[in-house]
C-alpha cells in the first residue's frame, strides 16, 4: 500500500509556499502533495491559512514564494481561469454563485458555449445546448431537473450547494477543491455529499476538503494535513489509527500530543 503511494506520481504538489498579507505571514513554507484519486482533508483553526492555501492552489492568490506542480509540470496560475483550464475546480465557502442568474448561466459562467466571432460582444449564447448539458450533469449527480432557468436567488442554501457542486463537476475536474462544503447543509444532505465525494474518488478525481467538521473529514479523507498559524503542523492518516483527538491537539497547539501513558 505504502509502496504504491511512493511510486505513484502526485497530481498536485506544492513546495515551500509562502504568502504574506502585509505584516501577517498567512502561509509559511507549506509543502504537501495530493495523489490521483486521493481525498485530502485540510484542517486548522480559524485563521490558520486553509482558505489562503487553496486560493493559492487555484490561482485566486499568487504566492510570494514557492512552487506549484500540477501533473508534474511547474505551473503559474494568474487567475482561477488558468487553473480551471488545467482541470482544477473549486467550490467556495460562499459558493461564488451569481444570484441574479439562472442555474445554467451559473454553471457555464466564464465557459459559455457560444457561436460567432472573436469577441464576446459578437459571440452568441447557445442556451438550449447549455441547458441540455447542465441537465445531464445534474442527472449524473442523481438529480432530475426540468427547469434550468430558475434563478439561483430562488434556491435554498442546500440547493445552491448542489448548483455549486454541479458547476465544479460539469467540467470534469482532475482536482476538486471544496471549502467548507458542509457548512450550509442539513444533516441529511451532508450524507449525500459524502457519498458524492466517495463516488468522485472512485472515478479517480482528487479532492481537497476544508472543513471544521472533523467527523466529515474522517469519514472520507485518506490523509489529513493540519495547519497551525500558517504552518504545516503535521499530517495524519486516519487509516493508521490516528484519532480525532490527535487532530484537535495539532490544530490547537501545533504539535503532536505527548503520550500520557508513559
Amino acid at each position: 500500500m505504502t509502496f504504491a503511494q511512493v511510486v505513484e506520481k502526485p497530481l498536485i504538489e506544492v513546495r515551500d509556499i509562502c504568502k504574506n498579507f502585509g505584516a501577517v505571514q498567512a502561509l509559511q513554507n507549506i509543502n504537501f502533495r495530493v495523489l490521483p484519486g486521493e481525498v485530502l482533508g485540510l484542517v486548522g483553526d480559524n485563521g490558520a491559512g486553509k482558505s489562503t492555501l487553496v486560493k493559492v492552489l487555484n490561482g485566486a492568490y499568487k504566492p510570494d514564494k514557492g512552487e506549484v506542480f500540477f501533473e508534474g509540470q511547474h505551473v503559474h496560475f494568474e487567475s482561477p481561469l488558468d487553473s480551471r483550464k488545467k482541470g482544477i475546480e473549486m467550490i467556495y465557502q460562499d459558493f461564488a454563485l451569481i444570484e441574479c442568474l439562472d442555474i445554467t448561466s451559473n454553471i457555464f459562467l466564464g465557459k459559455e458555449r457560444t457561436f460567432g466571432l472573436f469577441s464576446p460582444l459578437l459571440r452568441f449564447l447557445l442556451r438550449r445546448q447549455m441547458d441540455d448539458e447542465a441537465k445531464k450533469t445534474f442527472k449524473d449527480l442523481g438529480i432530475q431537473l426540468e427547469n434550468m432557468r430558475i434563478k439561483v436567488k430562488e434556491l435554498s442554501g442546500g440547493e445552491r450547494q448542489l448548483v455549486a457542486i454541479a458547476r465544479g463537476m460539469h467540467f470534469q475536474p482532475k482536482l476538486f477543491i471544496m471549502d467548507e462544503p458542509t457548512a450550509n447543509l442539513s444533516v441529511g444532505k451532508i450524507e449525500t455529499l459524502l457519498t458524492l465525494e466517495r463516488d468522485l474518488k472512485s472515478r479517480g478525481v482528487s479532492i481537497i476538503i476544508i472543513s471544521h467538521r472533523l467527523e466529515d473529514i474522517f469519514a472520507v479523507a485518506d490523509r489529513i494535513v493540519v495547519l497551525w498559524r500558517g504552518q504545516k503542523a503535521g499530517e495524519i492518516i486516519p487509516r493508521e489509527g490516528a484519532t480525532m483527538e490527535d487532530v484537535v491537539h495539532l490544530m490547537m497547539f501545533g504539535n503532536r500530543a505527548q503520550s500520557t501513558k508513559e
Binding site: 473549486m90 451569481i98 448561466s105 459562467l109 460567432g116 452568441f124 427547469n147 430558475i150
Partner: protein
C-alpha cells in the same frame, strides 16, 4: 406549456431532497409585473390626456412625443447597460452637450457631415473609456468619477464656446432630427435600432451575460476567472457612445449647439432607467423596461404641456416620480443598507 408540478421537476437525491419547483413562464409573456404596470399607466395617462385635450391624440403630437422620447431614450439605453453592470454614469448630459458642440463646430468648419458625426460619437466613446479606466484601474467610485468628468466636460464646453451657440444650416445634418422615413421621425427609428442592438447584446451574447453577472456579484465573477475590469470598461464606452448619439440628435433637432444643452437631463434619464426596473445595485434590469419608462415620462411631460400645466411644476412632478421609482426599487431589494 404544461404546468410542472414539484414532484416532476426533481427526483429526490437522497431522502426527501427536492430542488425547487419550476415556474413555467410562457415565452410570449416575457413582460414582468412592472412592465405590465407601466403599460397600464401609459394607457391610462393617454386616455386621460385625450379626454382632457383634443390636441393630445393627434398624429403630429404623438410623433412629437416619439421624437422627444428618442433623444433621452437613446441615452437611457446606454445608462441601463452601465447600471446593470453595477456602475453609474452621471456624465451623460455633459457628453451630450460636448458631442453636439463638437459635431456642430466641425460642420460649421465645412467638414463632411458624416465625418463630423463620427468624430462626435468617438468623443463619447473616449469619455466612456476615460471614465471606465478611472473607475476600474484606479478604483474610484463611479459616482464621484463621473461627477468630476461631468463638471470638467461641461466647463470645457463653456470655455471653448465662450458661452456662445453654434448655428447649423447643413440640411443633411438637420434631417437627422427632423427627417422622416415613411412618416416616422428619424430619431424614433434610431431609437428602435439602438434598443434592438442593446437588447440583443444584453440577452443573447456572452458579453451581456457578463454584464448581468458582474452587476450581480463582481467578486464571484472574479473567482470564476472573468476579466471584470474589461467588461465594465466596455459598458462605460457603450454609454458614452449612446450619450454622444443622443447629443448629436438633439443638436440636429434644435439646429444650434449650445453649451447648456441637455443640462439636467441626466436626472430624466436616470429616473427612466430606475423606473424601468433596473436595480441601482446592479444585476437586474432590461432595456425594454427603460424604453417603456421613457415613453411614460415623455407622454407625461407632453400631456402636462398640452394642458398648460405650469412649467415650474414639471420638475417637481418628475422629482416625485423618481422618488417613487426608487422607493419601488428599495421595497424590492430590501432598501439602502
Amino acid at each position: 406549456m404544461k404546468e410542472i408540478t414539484r414532484d416532476q421537476v426533481a427526483k429526490p437525491l437522497a431522502n426527501e431532497e427536492v430542488i425547487v419547483e419550476g415556474r413555467v413562464k410562457s415565452i410570449l409573456w416575457r413582460l414582468n409585473f412592472r412592465d405590465f404596470a407601466m403599460i397600464v399607466i401609459l394607457v391610462g395617462l393617454s386616455i386621460f390626456f385625450t379626454v382632457q385635450s383634443p390636441h393630445f391624440f393627434k398624429m403630429g403630437n404623438l410623433l412629437d412625443i416619439a421624437r422627444s422620447a428618442a433623444i433621452n431614450g437613446i441615452v437611457a439605453a446606454g445608462e441601463t447597460v452601465v447600471l446593470i453592470s453595477g456602475g453609474f454614469d452621471l456624465s451623460i448630459s455633459s457628453v451630450m452637450a460636448a458631442s453636439g458642440s463638437i459635431t456642430a463646430a466641425l460642420i460649421h468648419a465645412h467638414v463632411s457631415t458624416y465625418l463630423a458625426v463620427f468624430v462626435g460619437l468617438s468623443f463619447g466613446a473616449m469619455v466612456g473609456f476615460i471614465n471606465g479606466i478611472i473607475i476600474t484601474k484606479m478604483r474610484i467610485n463611479p459616482l464621484i468619477t463621473t461627477l468630476a468628468t461631468m463638471a470638467i466636460i461641461r466647463g470645457t464646453c463653456y470655455v471653448a464656446s465662450n458661452g456662445l451657440s453654434i448655428g447649423i444650416g447643413d440640411e443633411t445634418f438637420r434631417s437627422f432630427g427632423f427627417g422622416k422615413i415613411y412618416g416616422i421621425p428619424k430619431p424614433a427609428i434610431m431609437l428602435i435600432i439602438v434598443y434592438a442592438i442593446l437588447y440583443i447584446l444584453l440577452h443573447y451574447t456572452q458579453f451581456g451575460r457578463y454584464v448581468y453577472a458582474i452587476g450581480g456579484n463582481a467578486n464571484s465573477c472574479r473567482l470564476c476567472g472573468l476579466n471584470i475590469d474589461r467588461w465594465r470598461l466596455i459598458t462605460y464606452i457603450l454609454c458614452g457612445i449612446c450619450s454622444a448619439f443622443g447629443g448629436i440628435l438633439l443638436t440636429a433637432l434644435v439646429g444650434t449647439a449650445i453649451p447648456t444643452a441637455a443640462l439636467g437631463s441626466e436626472l430624466v434619464v436616470i429616473s427612466a432607467v430606475i423606473l424601468g426596473g433596473t436595480s441601482l445595485a446592479g444585476g437586474e434590469g432590461s432595456v425594454m423596461g427603460t424604453l417603456l419608462a421613457m415613453a411614460l415620462l415623455s407622454t407625461l411631460t407632453n400631456g402636462m404641456t398640452i394642458l398648460s400645466f405650469p412649467v415650474y411644476w414639471h420638475q417637481i412632478i418628475r422629482g416625485f416620480i423618481l422618488l417613487l421609482a426608487v422607493l419601488i426599487d428599495a421595497a424590492r431589494t430590501g432598501g439602502y443598507k
